[in-house]
């Protein structure tokens, strides 16, 4: 399609510099409603990357992914090629590839749509990655609640096997692979890689102590690579287009394309695949700007586990380095946009309720810290906060950050610490009575009341 005059249905078109950030690569096939079917997928250049990859030496594929600079898309951003390289080869142990499809970070919506609309792109990536790390068995751990995505995924596995892309001697390469699609049981913690492995092994989903790392002692104590869906789905395009092409997008240390999930008080929330380094200002422009009557007040760059930012960070590049430079993290690029109509204290409370609910309970700082923070925040919202509560919350965070086996506890400190940092006055307004209590009063010293028992005290949303 050639560029034409902007369609008049938009009041104002996005600026050219924002449009230039769009990079439809992983999301391109989503426009074809039947791309989940293997015959349509193959018409759309499907499985050409696999054919090309099988002609190469597995070590060359690892080197290619390393040269591309692909970094994990699950939140941590660990260099993918390096992770693959950590797998000891010729050790006599079975290797496993595990795909983390347990998308649960609040605000994130990229992996599930991908598995719904284009599951074969993930399958193709899985086969290539498994071939590279010499894994003959791959597992896709999909979030249990994503029932229809799981149907599409399981159907894709069956279709792929029927055409010889899975099974024994794939396309005559001598490489065998079976994929198991496993549905999770509804726990956010099972998106943590070692908790996921525990759950996959049939045990309670609780994180393991690391070291040793999954690269040497992962699934069934064997070398395992755990990668996010978007990371693996990027692999076929790197195989086809090469490392230099991938690096032509994004920034030097964060190359490539990323699916940004923009939600909240914007005119057109949705998935916008852009090159890494896009700013919030550009994303808002693409999403049609703030919704009418709303001004940007606070936003999360990568889901609730990343410290929130404010309107002053409109032009900070959304890549791994840019976000680290302003004291937060890129996370899963779950950009949640809030306005003056949103109560930052209440949002923090709801997020901590989530972390409290999802905490697996293994580590005392996380289990007790979240439990405690929920109650302190509820007390503040009920108009019974004290000035010492802010110090208490920060003290709790100080005892939680970096003190548990996994990052759930760390994630819980993000909204609390950043909201107090940027919006201390909002808290003080509740504590000092300038703001009407949002929740019906929790009786002083009451414990064990259910979170659903708190009523909204007649406040307009």
């Amino acid at each position: 399609m050639t560029a034409q005059e902007p369609a008049p249905r938009l009041e104002s078109a996005p600026r050219p510099e924002s449009l230039a950030r769009l990079t439809p690569v992983l999301t391109k096939r989503w426009l074809s409603p039947d791309a989940w079917r293997i015959d349509v997928y193959e018409q759309l250049d499907g499985y050409t990357a696999l054919r090309k990859a099988l002609t190469a030496d597995p070590d060359d594929l690892i080197a290619l992914v390393k040269a591309s600079g692909l970094r994990g898309r699950g939140g941590a951003g660990f260099p993918t090629g390096l992770k693959w390289q950590f797998i000891p080869q010729n050790d006599g142990k079975p290797h496993y590839l595990v795909v983390n499809a347990d998308e649960g970070e609040p605000g994130t919506c990229k992996d599930l749509p991908l598995m719904m609309a284009d599951p074969h792109s993930l399958i193709e990536g899985v086969i290539i990655a498994s071939y590279a790390i010499r894994a003959n068995r791959a597992f896709i751990y999909i979030r249990g609640e994503a029932v229809h995505a799981a149907r599409r995924l399981r159907n894709a596995v069956v279709e792929a096997r029927s055409l010889g892309y899975l099974g024994q001697d794939i396309l005559g390469s001598g490489f065998d692979l079976e994929i198991v699609v496993h549905s999770g049981a509804g726990a956010y913690i099972c998106g943590e890689e070692t908790a996921l492995l525990e759950s996959l092994e049939g045990k309670r989903g609780q994180p393991r102590l690391r070291p040793p790392f999954p690269a040497t002692h992962g699934l069934y104590n064997s070398p395992t690579v755990v990668n996010n869906v978007e990371t693996i789905a990027s692999v076929p395009y790197i195989v086809l287009g090469g490392a230099d092409w991938f690096r032509s997008m994004g920034t030097e240390k964060s190359p490539g394309t990323k699916i940004y999930s923009v939600s909240g008080r914007v005119d057109r929330p949705g998935q916008y695949e852009c090159s890494l380094g896009t700013t919030l200002g550009q994303l808002l422009d693409l999403a049609g700007g703030m919704a009418e009557g709303h001004q940007l007040r606070f936003w999360t760059p990568g889901g609730s586990s990343t410290p929130m930012l404010t309107a002053e960070h409109l032009d900070v590049p959304l890549d791994f380095e840019g976000m680290a430079s302003v004291g937060t993290m890129l996370g899963t690029t779950a950009v949640q946009v809030f306005s003056q109509a949103d109560d930052v204290v209440y949002a923090t409370y709801r997020w901590i309720e989530f972390y409290h609910h999802e905490s697996c309970g293994k580590c005392t700082p996380c289990r007790e810290g979240n439990y405690w923070m929920v109650r302190v925040l509820r007390r503040i919202l009920a108009g019974q906060g004290r000035h010492e509560d802010l110090d208490l919350l920060l003290d709790l965070c100080g005892n939680l950050l970096g003190r548990s086996f996994c990052a759930l506890g760390d994630g819980a400190t993000s909204p609390v610490m950043s909201s107090i940092k940027y919006f201390r006055q909002d808290y003080l307004d509740y504590i000092e009575g300038r703001r009407e209590p949002l929740l019906a009063g929790a009786a002083p010293g009451a414990a064990g009341e259910s979170t659903t028992g708190a009523e909204l005290a007649g406040k307009d949303s």
Binding site: M1, D60, M116, A117, E145, H148
Partner: protein
């Protein structure tokens, strides 16, 4: 899509208090036809759902074809399509660099 209500894990989008009540009323009278999720599949019972969660295939005819992505999912794509944005420089025949001599064995990879 928000606010979203799920019924047996299938999504019903842009729910209001009134439409939520209407949805429940329709669920209470299945003989009049169950509501259909735009993005998901036809509803099935909890027993069938639990079997699917355990990994058994959904046996209903063409069930995988149910559901279409909504506009929010396609938002970025639509913009790119509308303004003719495409990624440049993509050559699917770009050779994969090889570090090994031709015909060489797969080297014992680095740990």
């Amino acid at each position: 899509y928000a606010p979203v209500m799920t019924v047996n894990y299938e999504y019903f989008d842009e729910i209001t208090p009134d439409s939520a009540v209407e949805l429940v009323k329709r669920l209470q009278k299945p003989e009049d036809g169950l509501p259909v999720s735009a993005r998901g599949a036809r509803l099935c019972g909890f027993k069938e759902m639990s079997q699917q969660l355990a990994g058994f295939p959904d046996e209903r005819v063409r069930i995988t074809a149910d559901g279409l992505p909504g506009e929010p999912t396609l938002a970025g794509n639509r913009l790119a399509e509308q303004y003719g944005i495409a990624v440049s420089g993509f050559n699917p025949d770009t050779p994969i660099p090889s570090a090994h001599a031709q015909g060489g064995q797969a080297a014992g990879g680095k740990a």
